[in-house]
């Protein structure tokens, strides 16, 4: 064999190397874009905004099922007990100056852009400023007044005087004033057409934020100063003067009435003969929705949420996951009866004997229709099939009823013992322990509870009902009870319960509790009404602080009239043994030591 000399080998190699050279180093990067490239292209501008929309979901939300279980709305059924004793000093705390800086960079770039026409530029600018106001609002809810940096984009150069970058905290009134003034400045630059899936902010969203910020500020001014020892700092970073309450209530009333009178949204009433279904669809169905003003939207494929998969009843589960959490009896009993304002379920008569029901749903007869629209009750339908909740059999033995429970789905000669859905009291995973399932935010789409697909149901942030209830509350606080009644009765009429003829603030609190269950209102409402430390006072003797479950049993008493009927036990919810304990220090989140180290002008909150 003839050997190729080394000289040729070298030549061939050299030839190969020089051939492989393309202009790899001269390519434009497709991952890093210049300011110029971003702010001259509308698609790029929209995708920057989309990024911001994706970063502003705070507090209770459907991508965190646990967040529903730490208040008095639902309980965690997943595995063993949740031994939470009290709330965190940083509960749902928002401190996102990174995002505020990003938004300010965006505003800077957008304003310098020459190619976007003026009208559109103003629209995008307003949208970005709305998102910024929303971030400030969520910060203020938890922390009180925080530094307001305006449109500044700070740049740090080594050696510079950093004290110029250190802004002190604003007053609590000041941060709400700033949010309100921002909305006033931008609202007329925003679109007044409802977004198809309520995913983008428009003029009405902005007015809703104004109304909510004003009603929060008004109620803090009002109720904080009625406490035995009002929570405030000497600089006003926490605490709003009582004299300002009227001003804020007035602003809240005006802003909410603008939304109400806009004619763009309404209290949906498409199924007047099935008000429960109507209520479910008003909140959960996106197509032709005229009630939801702004929501965290999800879409399949790509952006989906696990809530349905985690919380679906076992009988309807399409994957391994199921029954992570369920609503508790406390919430169910807070829904009124259509013929009585006391919603307590009648499980026993005056002398302590069981009341027997022909079917489990009969217990809930004449309840506020919103109950069945928000919660799956024992024996009600989901996707056209019954959700059976049966803890066991009540067997009559020698004149007393004895519980008989079995394995999930087991039966004997008398029929089913314990349903595959539970409820049970053990530490087993994937079985309900409260006696109820969520209906709100539970997706009926096929395969929405599989790991591969998940759900694309949205999570509303503002809906029309809130505008009406804010107007009602503000009117009431301003002394115009007649107007307050008109508005609250709109909500009650749509819901399907009788109108009120007189009202107090307790009616507002009650109405918000049931109308907005699981919608990230309860915690903030009890905070602003300064009721959280009283309702969740940490006492195991306080039925409002403890959590309760409802266990349905089928009666086995052959030969008696009650055989085959249903009875119910109200009992403490095993999986949450401790009372809810909201302490005075939880009214305001703690300030982080690191923030003070970086900016000594930040004063700490009370109780810190």
């Amino acid at each position: 064999m003839k050997r190729i000399s080394n000289k040729y080998k070298a030549l061939i190699l050299l030839a190969l190397f020089s051939a492989s050279c393309n202009k790899i180093l001269d390519q434009n990067p497709d991952q890093i874009l210049t300011e110029e490239q971003v702010y001259t292209d509308e698609i790029m501008i929209k995708s920057v905004l989309a990024n911001y929309y994706g970063r502003i979901q705070y507090g209770q939300r459907t991508d965190d099922s646990y967040s529903f279980t730490i208040l008095d709305e639902a309980g965690k059924s997943d595995g063993g007990p949740d031994n939470i004793q009290t709330y965190s000093d940083t509960q749902w705390r928002v401190y996102d100056y990174t995002l505020i800086r990003n938004i300010n960079q965006f505003l800077l770039g957008l304003r310098a852009s020459s190619t976007i026409d003026e009208e559109k530029r103003i629209g995008y600018e307003a949208e970005a400023r709305f998102i910024r106001a929303w971030v400030y609002f969520n910060m203020a809810k938890g922390l009180g007044g925080m530094p307001i940096v305006g449109d500044e984009v700070f740049e740090y150069v080594p050696g510079m005087d950093i004290t110029a970058l250190q802004y002190p905290r604003s007053t609590e009134a000041g941060i709400y004033d700033y949010i309100i003034s921002e909305i006033d400045a931008i609202k007329d630059n925003m679109s007044d057409a409802p977004a198809t899936k309520a995913e983008r902010a428009n003029k009405w969203t902005a007015l809703m934020l104004k109304a909510r910020a004003a009603i929060y500020a008004g109620s803090i001014a009002n109720y904080n100063n009625k406490m035995a020892s009002p929570i405030r700092t000497s600089g006003g970073e926490v605490g709003i003067p009582a004299a300002d309450a009227g001003k804020y209530y007035q602003l809240a009333l005006e802003a909410s009435e603008q939304v109400i009178n806009s004619g763009k949204y309404n209290l949906m009433l498409k199924k007047p003969d099935d008000l429960s279904r109507n209520f479910y669809e008003a909140i959960n169905v996106k197509e032709n929705n005229t009630e939801v003003i702004w929501a965290k939207d999800y879409i399949y494929p790509g952006q989906t949420v696990e809530f349905t998969k985690l919380n679906i009843p076992a009988s309807h589960a399409e994957d391994i996951d199921r029954a992570y959490a369920g609503p508790i009896l406390n919430l169910v009993e807070d829904f009124e009866y259509t013929n009585s304002r006391n919603g307590e379920l009648k499980t026993k008569d005056a002398s302590g004997n069981y009341i027997f029901y022909n079917s489990p749903l009969d217990l809930f007869k004449d309840k506020d229709p919103r109950l069945a629209g928000s919660i799956i009750l024992p024996g009600s339908d989901f996707k056209g099939e019954t959700v059976v909740l049966q803890a066991g059999q009540k067997v009559l033995q020698d004149g007393v009823y004895v519980n008989k429970t079995g394995d999930l789905g087991s039966s004997d000669a008398n029929g089913l013992i314990t349903s595959e859905n539970g409820p049970i009291t053990s530490n087993v995973q994937y079985v309900n322990k409260t006696g109820f399932f969520f209906r709100k935010f539970l997706d009926e789409t096929p395969l929405a509870s599989t790991r591969g697909r998940n759900s694309d149901l949205w999570y509303p942030r503002f809906r029309f009902a809130e505008a009406v209830l804010i107007a009602s509350e503000a009117a009431l606080e301003l002394g115009n009870t007649a107007k307050g009644l008109t508005y609250i009765n709109q909500i009650r009429t749509r819901a399907g319960i009788p109108s009120l003829t007189s009202m107090t603030i307790d009616d507002i609190i009650q109405e918000r509790r049931v109308e907005f269950a699981f919608e990230n209102h309860r915690y903030w409402d009890l905070k602003r009404f300064r009721l959280a430390d009283k309702i969740w006072n940490g006492s195991n003797q306080n039925p409002n602080a403890m959590q309760y479950a409802l266990f349905p049993y089928k009666v086995v008493a052959p030969g008696t009239a009650n055989h085959g009927k249903w009875v119910f036990d109200k009992q403490l919810f095993n999986n949450s043994p401790n009372p809810r304990f909201f302490q005075m220090k939880h009214y305001y989140n703690f300030i982080d030591q690191a923030w003070v180290d970086n900016n000594p002008k930040i004063v700490r909150n009370p109780f810190q």
Binding site: Q85, T86, A228, S229, G538, S539, N540, Q541, N578, F581, Q583, M584, K585, Q593, D597, R604, P606, F607, Q608
Partner: protein, 223 residues
């Protein structure tokens, strides 16, 4: 044999690796009590409910060292020698907001008393449990601050020596107390936990409406 040698070398290397680059652990102790007129107060000892703050000035960052107060009012910190300031936590504790600073020059050990002015005091407490599990006794309420209002007083029973508004299995709140000496009468005869317990401890708490938590009596073993 060779394997053993390798193992030995490896072990030697590991031991070798521990250099003397660590600090010695702190040996000095600040201990003390939260007091009123020199008498330690009875407080909530769980859940880090009562805290003092310890600062060491002179450094760039001034993060505090939290000092947790136990239910007999005592506290103890093991820390390095140096100059410290001990400060009350804002609006924390059943007393008029105490933010006085106690300077501590720590060399070895230091014994501190942190004097506060509580709204109420629970005194002369006697509690006992009868054979049929009925809790009786009495205590006196001393209003120490003229403007203070009582939010509630509470009777607490626990299975362990830690008794407070969270650590208990029996709690009964009363919103009004008639007179300064209050008698207690609680029926625990139908309480399963009380029936089966081998030891029981009880305590009285009084919450002033302007305080974030209650002040307590001493813990009394009733069974």
């Amino acid at each position: 044999m060779k394997r053993l040698l390798y193992a030995l070398i490896a072990t030697a290397l590991f031991i070798q690796g521990c250099g003397k680059d660590n600090y010695e652990e702190p040996e000095s102790v600040i201990s003390g009590k939260v007091t009123f007129n020199g008498v330690p107060l009875n407080l909530k000892g769980t859940d880090q409910a009562v805290q003092l703050k310890l600062y060491q000035p002179g450094y760039q960052l001034n993060a505090e060292v939290p000092v947790y107060v136990a239910q007999d009012g005592s506290f103890k910190v093991k820390i390095f020698d140096g100059q410290y300031k001990l400060v009350g936590r804002n609006n924390n504790g059943p007393w008029i907001n105490a933010t006085d600073t106690v300077n501590i020059d720590l060399k070895g050990n230091a014994e501190i008393t942190y004097e506060v002015n509580p709204y109420f005091l629970v005194e002369n407490t006697s509690l006992s449990l009868s054979g049929d599990n009925k809790l009786t006794g009495n205590f006196s309420i001393t209003k120490n601050v003229a403007t203070a209002n009582m939010s509630y007083y509470t009777v607490l029973v626990s299975k362990t020596a830690f008794v407070d508004d969270v650590s208990n299995f029996y709690r009964k709140d009363y919103n009004t107390a008639s007179g300064n000496t209050v008698s207690v009468s609680e029926d625990l005869s139908s309480n399963e936990t009380a029936k089966n317990a081998t030891a029981l401890f009880a305590r009285i708490g009084i919450r002033a409406s302007s305080a974030d938590q209650a002040i307590y009596s001493e813990v009394i073993k009733i069974k």
